[in-house]
Chain length 287, copies 2
């Protein structure tokens, strides 16, 4: 675990309500859903972008945790029987298996509220109007024209043959929007960046690459390594980059996106080294 | 329908994504969940409180719609099979019956995001720091120590005998927090109020009275009048004010809360006439 990952784990534990706070079952389940799991890719990206913008780490930490609360809520709801009906997540029973469906529903709902609470109660920018814009960015990334919209497109696509642009549009919404929010929110804890469009383009490439690699790993890896049920998307008749392009071309596409992400970082020079490393990590990871 | 209700209906229709915007099924279902339904009690309260604080109606309208998006999302999730498993709401099939469970889940998720989008993208107060505080208030009212927490307490209480303070605590969270947010957000679109604590106390009395009256009506009214399945709480072994206090004492309690609400408004004099009328409406309503 990197220093940032350990720092984020500690911050998440601090920013979540205590497990014995009323109502205790809900709060214990929220902590179960969020803590001790995941690669924390979005927080890592937020910290790297915050570093680029010279942002105070205490601020980036809160923004990173807000994004991670949204991510965790989406996994809890996505695992529910009416969605992907999955029993395993990050090597542990999913929330509705460990607790119950109603609690899992409320865990997701309350984690989403908590994300917006974090972005509005901690000082993340000296300019309150700019901070309002940060909360708005997360709302857009999470909602019907962002992540939740991507889930809906995903539902509608089961058993269909999608074109590459359609598959891309689904993932830009479903995972790309929140990864983009992680990068931009990290940066916006600092001073305005002259080349923010470049950072935005980096975030889009990395978000898409993340999904392409996910599809490749889902096709290749055994469940034990992945920490979640492998091969489910293909089995469920969901279109994936591998089913659409084949394994070799999907791997090539991930490489192309990695190059494009590196290229987008050029105006920032050495200050963007950490972001470049993360693009490599996302594409070269084995789990 | 009052002028305010018609105005809110138009504003909700405008602020929701168009039914043909991608993804169309999700957006159509979001509109189905929110539009053409309900008494709009929370928006009415927001407008009355905004009037008291001299707030611009265009601002109050957005705040009122944000609260109503949260309320609508909570109903959609509350009606799901894993929660109350209800098929009828506002005289129409519930969202998961009219669409499907997965869509209903996403509708609720996306409506919550939309509420925070509204509170952060429209200018609601000249002071951006004060507006950040408004978004924070809604996040707290919606989350695990507000409405979602109340739902969790409700789940845990099924089949149990609660004391009056325990029942009150459940409702303060489950419905009271959002009604309080409606009142305070309406007021906070205007200039700071000298006696905001009084307004807050009014909101708490009205929020609790609303629930007591709901329990009385649920006990008395036929399903057709109520627009939702009557007598369900009692049948499900859920504690209600009627089951705990009896019908006569529950009615008395509603009257006491109405008097207390009126008393809390005294410092505002005639400016609070509309809020006083709403306290009467909430307690004296027959549906």
């Amino acid at each position: 675990m990197t220093g940032v990952q350990a720092r984020v784990e500690t911050a998440l534990a601090r920013l979540l309500p205590a497990a014995d706070a009323l109502p205790p079952r809900l709060h214990a389940a929220m902590r179960y859903a969020v803590l001790d799991g995941g690669k924390r890719v979005r927080p890592l990206l937020a910290f790297a972008a915050g570093g680029l913008a010279g942002a105070a780490e205490a601020r980036v930490e809160v923004a990173a945790c807000a994004v991670e609360m949204i991510h965790a809520y989406s996994l809890v709801h996505d695992d529910l029987p009416c969605m992907d009906d999955d029993v395993l997540r990050r090597g542990k029973p999913t929330v509705h298996v460990e607790y119950d469906e109603a609690t899992a529903l409320l865990v997701g709902d309350a984690l989403q509220s908590l994300a917006f609470q974090l972005l509005t109660e901690h000082p993340l920018n000296d300019d309150a109007a700019r901070q309002l814009g940060m909360a708005r960015l997360l709302a857009l990334a999470s909602g019907s024209r962002g992540m939740a919209g991507g889930q809906a497109i995903d539902l509608a696509s089961v058993g269909k043959t999608l074109s590459l642009p359609e598959l891309e549009s689904m993932h830009i919404h479903k995972t790309g929007a929140l990864i983009r929010a992680a990068v931009l929110l990290g940066a916006r804890c600092g001073a305005p960046l002259a080349d923010e469009d470049n950072l935005d383009h980096y975030a889009k490439c990395v978000g898409l690459a993340f999904q392409v690699v996910d599809d490749v790993l889902d096709y290749e890896a055994p469940t034990a390594t992945l920490g979640k049920t492998a091969g489910k998307d293909a089995a469920a008749g969901k279109p994936t980059y591998v089913s659409l392009l084949g394994l070799a071309r999907a791997r090539e596409l991930a490489e192309e996106l990695r190059s494009e992400a590196h290229l987008a970082l050029q105006p920032f020079g050495a200050r963007a080294a950490r972001l470049a490393e993360l693009a490599d990590f996302i594409v070269l990871r084995k789990f």
